[in-house]
Symmetry: C2
Subunit: 362 residues, 2 copies
Amino acid sequence: MAEKIIDPWGSALVEDYEKIVKDFGLEVFDSKLLPDPNKIMRRSVVFAARDLKQIANAIKNKKKFYVLSGIMPTGERIHFGNKMVVENIRYFQEHGAETYILVADLEAAAARGVSLEESRKRALDFHIPAFIALGLDPKKTFFYFQSENIKVTHLASETSKKVTANEFKSVYGSLEPGRIYSAFTQVGDILYPQLKERMPGIIPVGIDQDPHIRLTRDIVRRTKQKYNFFAPSSIYHKYTPSLDGGLKMSKSKPESCIELPEDPKQVSKKLMRAKTGGRDTVEEQKKLGGEPEKCMIFELYKQHLIEDDKELDKIYKDCKAGKLLCGEDKKHACELMAKFMKKLTKDIESARKKVNKLKFVK
Amino acid sequence: MAEKIIDPWGSALVEDYEKIVKDFGLEVFDSKLLPDPNKIMRRSVVFAARDLKQIANAIKNKKKFYVLSGIMPTGERIHFGNKMVVENIRYFQEHGAETYILVADLEAAAARGVSLEESRKRALDFHIPAFIALGLDPKKTFFYFQSENIKVTHLASETSKKVTANEFKSVYGSLEPGRIYSAFTQVGDILYPQLKERMPGIIPVGIDQDPHIRLTRDIVRRTKQKYNFFAPSSIYHKYTPSLDGGLKMSKSKPESCIELPEDPKQVSKKLMRAKTGGRDTVEEQKKLGGEPEKCMIFELYKQHLIEDDKELDKIYKDCKAGKLLCGEDKKHACELMAKFMKKLTKDIESARKKVNKLKFVK
């Protein structure tokens, strides 16, 4: 339920995410650990972490560390989750991280039947440009295709022997061979940058990716004698909720899901029907004020559309005070979204021209 | 028990191997399908097969087919099982097969902790020369290292999604992640030659390797639409029994196990203590004749030391008639074994010089 998962501006964690933190043994994310946290860090959209201190220390002491993430080159568009990952990658990149972006073409082939050639084409044509458009600095980034990185395979093969069936099942809840094969490939990806030089690394992910982090951290302990890798750190962002108030946008409900990029007119229609924290009548709302904590539009501001905290705060207060009504506010959101989508489309176009200069590693 | 597993010269399958054929759903190997069968084929040491007809047809109609096997570059020596595999590879090589030998260095690293560099060194220094010394024609063979063959990884990753946990368990009896990872790498190896051109292939193996063949054959059916691979054919050789009469030589009983190459004097000592089919007393043996069916020395003749069927037959008959006694026979075996070991050592030495001319593929 939306009431549970959308935390008020600046407030503590709400129930669902609190439960995740507890069940998964995560740390509550503390933005004060990091210098100049980005907006999703400051606003508790990034809500949990593992071993964040070793990254904070690396930043503070100007020690080497890395940030790594993957691109799944299926589909013609990306989603808000990818946008948050890039925002976090960018943050660490700007704070000195060696940056790795892998294209999960093996995974795309195995899970979705997309050929390696097709994945390569899509990644170069859209996904990598989209990441650059969202803020990734390509000059400071090493890219690779899983299908070309034999060292990832070496790590996957070797580390698969370090985990029993029961242990794997307790992390993933499944022993399907395809799942197992993919999981160890991801372990290989996460540790690959340390083959050249061991250093802390941070993996910004959605909470559904935590099993890979847990598995990798277990494996690091078990290969200590040979590799002495740093266990990967991680941070977790909340989902962007579905416009109807559900936990997570999903393509299966296209009317409540916004993809990137998407036609601004089409998005406006969806926004105008979004669930808000408005009262039953205008009169009531003027009297009692709105409930931004329950509002999908406010959540989009907070996660994606408004950079400036003061601007966000003003909206929050005006809504609470009954001064800002939903109709007007939705119009505002449509304008911001249209601006964002237009800029994104244009930036993807420009980024495409940089693709031939990317640094690929193996 | 030795009585069960050693079939009399030329006889039908004995109980243990019959059970394997039945339980695994194998064909009984029929040497008449193949032109000029080699000695272990003629003598029912090769006892079972899958889909041998498609290979027989390829030979008959001079169609393309391949033979593939792997080298596990652990240890300083090989064993009689490897020798039988090479004998069969050589047979198919001489009958037109495109030949692939892979070095299972990923497997060696994962299962035994041997570094890739060490595996490479061992393979080039000993294992490949030993295969050449035993009859492999290096000029007609494509070699590769698992760790360098990304296409094998692609197949492994993709095919891992085609099998459920339950199905895997029913074939391997285990869902250990390391086992799963290795199994799909082997599926990748077995199918790799068909990526270039689809054609039948034969994998000569010991019976313990059959799960890989079964898994690969299942996967071939499930990837028909995309790849339309031929299901791999296979042939299975019996174990070389332990000199004390056990099912299989094992390094854990060094006094009953002969490795290749091994010092002739040391081997002679072991042979002199081998279990034979001799009677309790010389008088009795002269009267009743020996029992070559129960004799480890005779099994070594049959599997390894005597090429000529007439020569083998004479020994069989002389033993049965009580004319050939165990002491004399063991001396003969020691001579043949010494000759074999000396030649092998010399041939490995010469083969080492050919290693720089091998054809490696990726």
